[in-house]
């Protein structure tokens, strides 16, 4: 049998494939997209926490979070347009609203959220129009969490096995990761000792993220491999270490001049690495046909045994 020529292209023997080539296509999205997943999450969760801080009269924290949200969502927009194959046509996203397309729904969520986040920041910085500013703050706080969690559906609604199969836990991983980042932003930007709410928010977020991640790894079985091995696994591991380190510093030295910003930066970096890790895991799962073929084969075998 002459198969493969110089290169050995048939990897495992326990499933059939066409010269080991992928069945589904790897995403054509570049690093813009995981960067957006991080920035959008950071912005959305920051807006939510800002409203809480404002209501409880922590004006400095509220202002810092609003500015951070406005900056992060502006960068997000740049990243999203930059990743398009035809950038001048980005407005075509607004031709239709399709609930079957998470990207379409997300575009409309962003179209509502972004002006509110910018207005809330503008009002906080200029200290003008407090009522309008409060309304914008409230609106951004309601839409922000949607910005942070819909992106999980954006990934899950694809044929990339590691993304699709994770559709149950991924929104919670992203929500937790977003809260971790927003908490980190609060610690980084307000004076030490005034970021208690941000620390608590980050702790809750990180706990949620870790719990959701371990559920994901458990439930996905062999499909979870790309989250634990290769580049995706590496990024996820570093993220976990940074999260633990950031939380430890926040709790132990969060009220010191050096401890607060160090913890904040570590938590924000951890959140970014989680998104890049998830992104890489999806790519790896699309590249290797075993992640596509094996579960489908098992599904067929299960169905066949049920029929008997």
């Amino acid at each position: 049998m002459k198969r493969g020529g110089e290169k050995a292209m048939v990897p495992d023997a326990d499933f059939g494939s066409y010269y080991g080539r992928p069945v589904v296509k790897e995403t054509v999205w570049g690093p813009d997209i995981p960067a957006y997943l991080f920035l959008g999450g950071l912005a959305g969760a920051s807006s939510a926490l800002a409203a809480g801080a404002q209501v409880t009269r922590h004006a400095e924290l509220a202002r810092a979070l609003k500015c951070g949200a406005a900056g992060a969502i502006s960068l997000s927009m740049v990243a999203l347009v930059h990743d398009l194959g035809r950038r001048m046509r980005f407005v075509n996203m607004l031709r239709v609203l399709k609930v079957t397309s998470p990207m379409s729904v997300g575009t409309w969520i962003l179209s509502g959220y972004t002006p509110l986040a910018l207005a809330a920041a503008a009002a906080a910085v200029t200290r003008k129009l407090p009522r309008a500013g409060f309304a914008a703050t409230a609106g951004a706080a309601l839409l922000g969490p949607a910005v942070a969690s819909y992106t999980a559906v954006l990934l899950a609604d694809t044929a990339a096995p590691a993304w699709h199969e994770a559709h149950r836990e991924l929104p919670f991983v992203f929500a937790g990761s977003a809260a971790t980042a927003a908490g980190g932003l609060g610690m980084l930007t307000v004076g030490p000792g005034r970021a208690g709410q941000a620390v608590r928010f980050a702790v809750i977020g990180a706990a949620g993220e870790i719990a959701a991640k371990s559920l994901l790894l458990q439930r996905l079985g062999a499909t979870a491999e790309p989250y634990q091995t290769g580049r995706g696994g590496q990024l996820m591991d570093i993220s976990e270490v940074l999260t633990a380190a950031g939380l430890a510093v926040a709790v132990l030295a969060g009220r010191t001049r050096v401890g607060a910003p160090v913890a904040g930066l570590a938590l924000m970096a951890a959140s970014a690495l989680t998104r890049f890790g998830v992104f890489e895991a999806g790519r790896a799962s699309a590249r290797d046909p075993k992640y596509t073929v094996r579960p489908q084969r098992e599904r067929l075998a299960d169905a066949a045994s049920r029929e008997q």
């Binding site: 494939s17 054509v28 809480g52 398009l84 035809r86 079957t100 809260a179 067929l300």
Partner: protein
């Protein structure tokens, strides 16, 4: 293929989203063509494919699809490798030891193409409406609308559609929309010298496909099987079905493809709960403690 109960699929879609490409056997009607010509498609009978690649060439010629490089892949006679933005027909070559066991070779050839799914993931996830269902039940990209977001590329369970590096847009087989509208058959089917690629109304093709499998079984070819011919499968049945002589994955096809949007209602619910959990976390973080 064929593990999904069509009733479950239909319920999820119509009750919870009530939208777009729907799972019915008549996707054109679901898409809003009350009065439309019969659904058409391909039946690719790989048992008579001779690997001449006339389909690949005819497709490129008619559709003015750019060349995608001359490389030797080392995969038998297949130097095309896969379907992409610039390859809308792809002939696969598989060399196997023959069943007789005396060292002979069995050479499988199969011309792959877009499946024009009844429930098309590419169409569902397209955020601009560039991908659309035609009156013939086929799925095409409107090039003047596509903004190159690339979502369809990740959504297709068959890895069919690609994004062009040259013009940034998504491209795939149109089932020669411009020809079938004029009563002509698609270029690949027209060029196929062995009628391995057959074009026609889907109902007729399905009947013919079942007959052909039965004939091959009688003639001592127990390996023959249909792929994409079952309307109860995970994509609501394909508009382009195949007769294969081995497992689908041997040809690079997924054994049990499911349209990713089937789980979308559930995904939206999880995302809504996750968003709610952020608000709950804010309440806890801000209510507790003095600072």
């Amino acid at each position: 293929m064929g593990t999904t109960s069509p009733a479950t699929t239909r319920n999820l879609f119509e009750q919870e989203t009530g939208l777009t490409s729907g799972p019915g056997l008549d996707p054109s009607a679901v898409a809003g063509y009350p009065d439309h010509p019969p659904r058409v498609g391909f039946f690719t009978d790989t048992s008579v494919c001779i690997g001449c690649k006339a389909c690949e060439v005819a497709c490129k010629e008619w559709n003015n699809v750019p060349e995608d490089g001359l490389v030797l892949t080392g995969m038998s006679y297949d130097n095309t490798a896969d379907l992409s933005a610039s390859t809308w027909r792809h002939v696969a070559f598989i060399e196997q030891p023959a069943a007789d066991g005396d060292g002979d070779l069995r050479w499988l050839m199969a011309s792959n193409v877009c499946k024009h799914c009844s429930q098309a993931a590419c169409l569902d996830v397209c955020p601009t409406g560039a991908l659309m269902r035609t009156e013939f039940g086929t799925v095409v990209v409107q090039d003047d609308i596509c903004n190159g977001c690339g979502y369809c590329v990740s959504a297709c369970p068959f890895g069919v559609i690609g994004r062009s590096e040259t013009d940034g847009g998504a491209h795939k087989c149109t089932l020669c929309y411009d020809r079938i509208g004029d009563g002509l058959m698609p270029a690949c089917a027209k060029a196929c010298p062995t009628e391995s690629i057959q074009f026609g109304p889907l109902d007729e093709l399905r009947e013919r496909a079942h007959q052909r499998v039965a004939d091959l079984h009688t003639a001592g070819q127990p390996d023959a099987r249909l792929y994409g011919a079952d309307p109860a499968d995970g994509i609501g049945g394909a508009g382009a079905m195949f007769l294969l002589l081995d497992e689908p994955e041997v040809y690079g096809l997924p054994p049990d493809p499911v349209v990713t949007t089937r789980d979308l209602p559930r995904m939206w619910r999880h995302a809504a709960t996750a968003a709610g959990s952020i608000i709950a976390a804010v309440v806890v973080a801000c209510a507790g403690g003095r600072r």
